[in-house]
């Protein structure tokens, strides 16, 4: 647990908390972008170069912009008058604590099972590419199919508007 890890973890958690607590929805979207960037730097700290840069490229570069567009083009940009805390905050807190407990227990159990002093695997982009087209080719093709379906859906949704206008 180095100093860098603590700084990055603090940045990620602060981004997440700000995304929860801020009133203005676009500010919340920008705060969650900071959390994404913190995650990307954590990946880089773990020497996962491809995962880190792909996280920036996809999450900060595309998903954040998507979230912001979605907020702007719907009516979510009006700030709530009563504040952001909901009436059922106690139930929410209990459920969140339960999920955190289960995930924490699972991670700590698995850490105890792994042997100590394992060398960090050096995974290059070449290895990821090789794995994607040999061992993981079926998930790759399924993801490609899913992305094609999403793009077709987007085009059809946009097309529908044009027919309605005419």
């Amino acid at each position: 647990m180095t100093v860098v890890f603590y700084i990055l973890a603090a940045m990620t958690v602060a981004g997440g908390m700000a995304a929860m607590l801020l009133k203005n929805t676009v500010h919340c979207a920008l705060a969650v972008t900071v959390a994404f960037a913190g995650l990307a730097f954590l990946f880089l700290d773990l020497d996962a170069q491809f995962a880190g840069f792909a996280q920036i490229l996809v999450y900060v570069g595309a998903v954040a912009i998507l979230v912001v567009f979605a907020i702007l083009l719907t009516r979510g940009s009006e700030t709530p008058k009563d504040g952001v805390a909901s009436k059922h905050w106690l139930a929410g807190l209990v459920i969140a604590a339960g999920v955190f407990a289960v995930m924490g227990w699972a991670i700590l159990q698995s850490a105890a099972v792994l042997p100590h002093e394992m060398p960090v695997p050096a995974v290059t982009v070449l290895d990821i590419g090789n794995a994607l087209v040999t061992r993981y080719v079926l998930p790759l093709e399924i993801v490609a199919l899913l992305l094609t379906a999403a793009m077709l859906g987007a085009v059809i949704v946009a097309l529908h508007e044009k027919e309605a206008a005419q």
Partner: protein, 391 residues
Amino acid sequence: MIEKMDQIFVLLLHWLTGFLPAWLQAIAGVVICVAVIVCLYPALFALAVLLERKGLGRMQNRYGPNRVGPYGILQPIADGVKSLTKEDIVPLSADAVVHFLAPVVLVVAVFMGFAVVPMGRNMVLVDMDAGLLFYFAMSATTELSVFMAGWSSRNKYSLLGAMRAVAQMISYEVPLLMSSVAVVMITGSLSLTKIVDAQNSYTGIFPHWYIFTPWGFAGFVMYAIATTAETNRSPFDLPEGESELVAGYHTEYSGFKFALFFLGEYVAMFSISGLGTTLFLGGWSAPFSFLTWVPSWIWFFSKIMLSICVFIWVRGTLPRLRQDQLMNFAWKFVLPLTLLNLFVAALWRFLGEGWERWVFCSAILAVVYVAMGLVEMRRDHFGPRKYRYAE
């Protein structure tokens, strides 16, 4: 002597850090390199702004600025002083924090891109294995700052300009990445230093730059189009055209923040032309084998300045594209051609050496280009124009 001139900056860095204790040398070296980059590119920006105003003026049959110094060469200094001393006006209802952060995020993201571009032999700041991916990740961050600028200004024109700019940048990011993927496929690595090394050989006197291959030439043309759109330069400057939207997403910025946006745009142009020369024009390698005695960094910066001159030339020549023409062009023309370029690059690799691959690859690209052009440019009916209005 030739190697000394070629490596003079590396040797200078080692000499400077030699004065420090061993544990401090690496960090000091990095800090010195970063300081040099942060000082050099704004200086080149000043030169580029002057070149643009004089060059554009000459193309439009007028003198550019010629009051401030002999032939107006002190104009950038006057502009710098003006932007530093102007009042910083922030609209009352603007979102102050986001309004302040938008130019900062832009400039930081743009300068980060220079970390992976090799500016000469052994002159890259960080030699990353996934260097190209890092560069594109940084340029994806600039879109977010454009949106932040437009939204935080609480101005309809700014928001409209920002939406158009973001839509344009996202649309052209896909052809940008795809045309670079062809280079990565042939080289076999995402590391920019390896891409330059792969182009640094010569047959006879001609270099093995990727632009001299059919897929490389098509890829370079599409990369150039995509970079002109990514940096919001003419003819893709609808988001910031003066006659369209006041000034688009940087309407409400004055003084130094506007100077930061301006700096960010030009330094992004330098950075993305640096990447283009690395990918297609051979980076720091010399154009002919008898010219390798000239230092490598001179070739790199000459190629960048040539790209800037071409950007300025295109700006002075072509009219602006309308938003729907821009988007149609990206999705219906450039993107299918980049996908075809990937296929042609694979064909090039697997046909092996010889004249067949030159003929087949060039023929496929030329035929498809002409066919798509004819299909897209035909007009079925010349009736009254139909408009689509926003609901």
